[in-house]
C-alpha cells in the first residue's frame, strides 16, 4: 500500500505512523466508520521521516497523530518529540507492542495524550482516539475564542483611541505631552484624559480613572467623553468655568449612568489653566494628586474629594495655584504609583531629568524604581509645561 497524503481544503486529518503496512491497514479498518462519522481523513506514513514530510505539508489539517514506537531510522519517541517542538497543537498517541521504559518516558516528555499497547482492544483504541480527537477540537475551539476575544479587544482599543485620545493643543506658550498605556494584553482601559481649549490661553485639563480594566472600564470612558463636552463644556465656554461645579455636575451625571449597575467608581481631576492670569484652579474627585514642579521643587496639589458615582450629590472644594513660565504640571493615574510594591510619585518626579520627553522618562523611572518590567494597571501621564 502506498502512503497517502492527499491534500484537501478544510479537511481534518488523523495521521497514523507505523513501519508495518499490515498494522496501518488494520488501523484504517478500525477507524473507517469513526472517521466517516466525523468527516475525518485518515493519512498514513510508513516511517517517522515520511510522517514529518506529511506534517510539513499538512500540519494545519492534522489534529491527531497515532505513532508506533519502534521504527527504523527514527524512533517513535524521537518523532513525537520533534512533533511537539514543531507542531505543539497536535495531539499525539503512542501505539506499541514493546514496553521499553526509557522510550516510553521520552514519549511522555513529548506530551503524548495516551499510550496504547499492541495488540489493541478495538473498543479501547477507539475510545482513546475519540478522547484525543475531542480534546484537540476543544483546544482548537478555545484557541479560536481567545483569538476572537483578542481581536475584539484590539478593535475596542482602536475605537477607544479614536474616540478618546485628543489632539492636544499646541502653542508657543504651553506644551502638553501625554503617554497612555493600557494593561498589557487588554488593549483598552479605564484611563481618561482630555485638554479642552476654553478660550484664549485657557485650558481645561481633565484626567480620570475608571475602577477596573478592559472593556467594562473602556465603556465608561466612552460615556465620559460622550457627556462632558456636549452636555457641559459647550454650554459654559466663554463664561466662568468652575472645576468644582463641573465635578459636582459630572458626579451627578455618572451616578445617574451607574444607576443600573453597582460598584462603579471613577476618580477624576479637573483643572482650569489660565495663562493670561497665571492661575491654575482645580478640584479633585478622589484622583491621585497631581504635582507641580517649580524651580526643580516638586509640590503635590492636595485637594481631596469623593470619587464620582458613589453618592448622588457631592460638593467639591476648589484650590488656586499661581503658575509661572517654566513650571511643569504633572498629572497621572494610579497605574504609575501602584507598580511593583508601590512608588512614591513626588519623590520619583524629583529624580527624573527634565526635558521634552519627561513624561516618558517618568514611566521608565517608575518601572526601574519598582524593579518591574511592565505596569499592571492602565497608566497615563500627562504633562503641561508653561513656556
Amino acid at each position: 500500500m502506498a502512503s497517502q497524503a492527499e491534500t484537501g481544503n478544510g479537511v481534518h486529518c488523523i495521521l497514523l505512523v507505523d513501519d508495518e503496512q499490515n498494522i496501518l491497514f488494520a488501523l484504517k479498518r478500525e477507524l473507517h466508520q469513526w472517521a466517516h462519522d466525523r468527516n475525518v481523513e485518515i493519512l498514513t506514513a510508513l516511517s517517522a521521516k515520511e510522517g514529518l514530510s506529511i506534517l510539513e505539508k499538512r500540519h494545519e489539517a492534522i489534529d491527531v497523530i497515532v505513532s508506533d514506537l519502534r521504527m527504523p531510522e527514527m524512533k517513535g519517541s524521537d518523532f513525537l518529540l520533534e512533533v511537539k517542538q514543531k507542531y505543539p497543537s497536535i495531539i499525539t498517541l503512542l501505539l506499541t507492542g514493546y514496553s521499553e521504559t526509557g522510550e516510553i518516558v521520552k514519549s511522555v516528555s513529548a506530551g503524548i495524550f495516551s499510550y496504547m499497547l499492541k495488540p489493541w482492544d478495538s473498543g479501547y483504541l477507539l475510545a482513546e482516539i475519540s478522547k484525543a480527537w475531542d480534546y484537540a477540537e476543544t483546544r482548537k475551539q478555545n484557541a479560536l475564542h481567545i483569538q476572537r476575544m483578542e481581536d475584539e479587544l484590539k478593535w475596542a482599543g482602536e475605537m477607544q483611541k479614536t474616540i478618546l485620545r485628543p489632539n492636544l493643543p499646541a502653542t508657543d506658550k504651553i506644551e502638553f505631552r501625554v503617554s497612555y498605556r493600557p494593561v498589557p494584553g487588554l488593549y483598552c482601559g479605564g484611563d481618561y484624559y482630555d485638554v479642552i481649549s476654553v478660550g484664549p490661553d485657557r485650558y481645561l485639563i481633565l484626567i480620570g480613572d475608571v475602577a477596573g480594566h478592559g472593556v467594562q472600564a473602556a465603556f465608561v470612558t466612552g460615556i465620559l467623553k460622550a457627556v462632558i463636552y456636549p452636555e457641559y463644556i459647550r454650554n459654559v465656554i466663554g463664561s466662568k468655568i468652575s472645576p468644582s461645579d463641573f465635578l459636582g455636575w459630572l458626579n451627578q451625571r455618572m451616578h445617574f449612568e451607574f444607576r443600573s449597575t453597582n460598584s462603579m467608581l471613577v476618580s477624576f481631576f479637573a483643572g482650569l489653566l489660565d495663562l493670561r492670569e497665571g492661575s491654575f484652579v482645580y478640584a479633585n474627585a478622589g484622583h491621585c494628586h497631581p504635582c507641580v514642579i517649580m524651580n526643580g521643587a516638586v509640590t503635590e496639589l492636595p485637594v481631596a474629594g469623593t470619587a464620582l458615582g458613589v453618592a448622588r450629590s457631592v460638593m467639591y472644594n476648589e484650590q488656586l495655584l499661581a503658575v509661572h513660565p517654566n513650571d511643569l504640571l504633572v498629572f497621572y493615574t494610579d497605574g504609575l504609583s501602584e507598580v511593583g510594591k508601590g512608588v512614591q510619585v513626588p519623590a520619583l518626579l524629583a529624580k527624573v531629568q527634565q526635558g521634552p520627553d519627561y513624561h516618558l522618562r517618568m514611566l521608565e523611572a517608575a518601572l526601574q524604581a519598582a524593579g518591574a518590567s511592565q505596569f499592571v494597571d492602565d497608566v497615563t501621564v500627562l504633562t503641561a509645561r508653561i513656556n
Binding site: 480613572d209 475602577a211 477596573g212 480594566h213 453597582n262 460598584s263 462603579m264 467608581l265 476618580s267 479633585n284 474627585a285 478622589g286 484622583h287 491621585c288 494628586h289 481631596a304 474629594g305 469623593t306 470619587a307 458613589v310 453618592a311 494610579d334 501602584e338 508601590g342 494597571d377
Partner: protein, 127 residues
C-alpha cells in the same frame, strides 16, 4: 457562653473571603474577613458574597468587613465596598469596616471615601 454560641454559627470560605454569621442569634454580627490582595478578581467575588449576605440578613443586623489581612486594595475593591455600604443602608443593616492597614487606608483616603464608612472592630464589639 461565647463558645456555645460559636457552635451555632456558620463559617463559609470562598477563596480569600471568610464569612461568619448566625441565623439563630439576631444580636450576633455577620463578619466577612478578607485576606490577601483585594484586586479586581477578588473584588468581583467579594461583591457577590457581600450582596448575597446583605440580602440574607434581617434589618437591624450589623455587618463587619474585616480588612486586617488585606495587604492591597484596588479602586475596584473600594468601589465594591462602597456599593455594599449603600445596599446595606437601603436594607437598614449597619455596615462597618475594620482594621485598615496604612496602605489600604491611603487608597480609601485618596478616593475620598474613608469618611463614608464607619470603622469598628468586630472583636471589640463582641467584648
Amino acid at each position: 457562653m461565647i463558645d456555645e454560641r460559636v457552635a451555632m454559627r456558620r463559617t463559609v470560605e470562598i477563596e480569600d473571603i471568610q464569612i461568619l454569621w448566625s441565623y439563630a442569634e439576631p444580636e450576633f454580627p455577620a463578619i466577612v474577613v478578607v485576606k490577601g490582595e483585594l484586586d479586581l478578581k477578588l473584588a468581583y467575588r467579594l461583591r457577590a458574597a457581600l450582596f448575597e449576605l446583605i440580602n440574607l440578613l434581617s434589618p437591624g443586623r450589623d455587618l463587619y468587613v474585616d480588612l486586617r489581612s488585606v495587604e492591597y486594595i484596588s479602586s475596584a475593591g473600594v468601589g465594591i465596598l462602597s456599593a455594599a455600604l449603600v445596599h446595606a443602608s437601603e436594607r437598614n443593616i449597619r455596615f462597618f469596616i475594620s482594621t485598615l492597614r496604612p496602605k489600604v487606608r491611603s487608597v480609601f483616603d485618596t478616593l475620598g471615601l474613608l469618611t463614608w464608612f464607619t470603622e469598628r472592630d468586630p472583636i471589640a464589639a463582641e467584648s
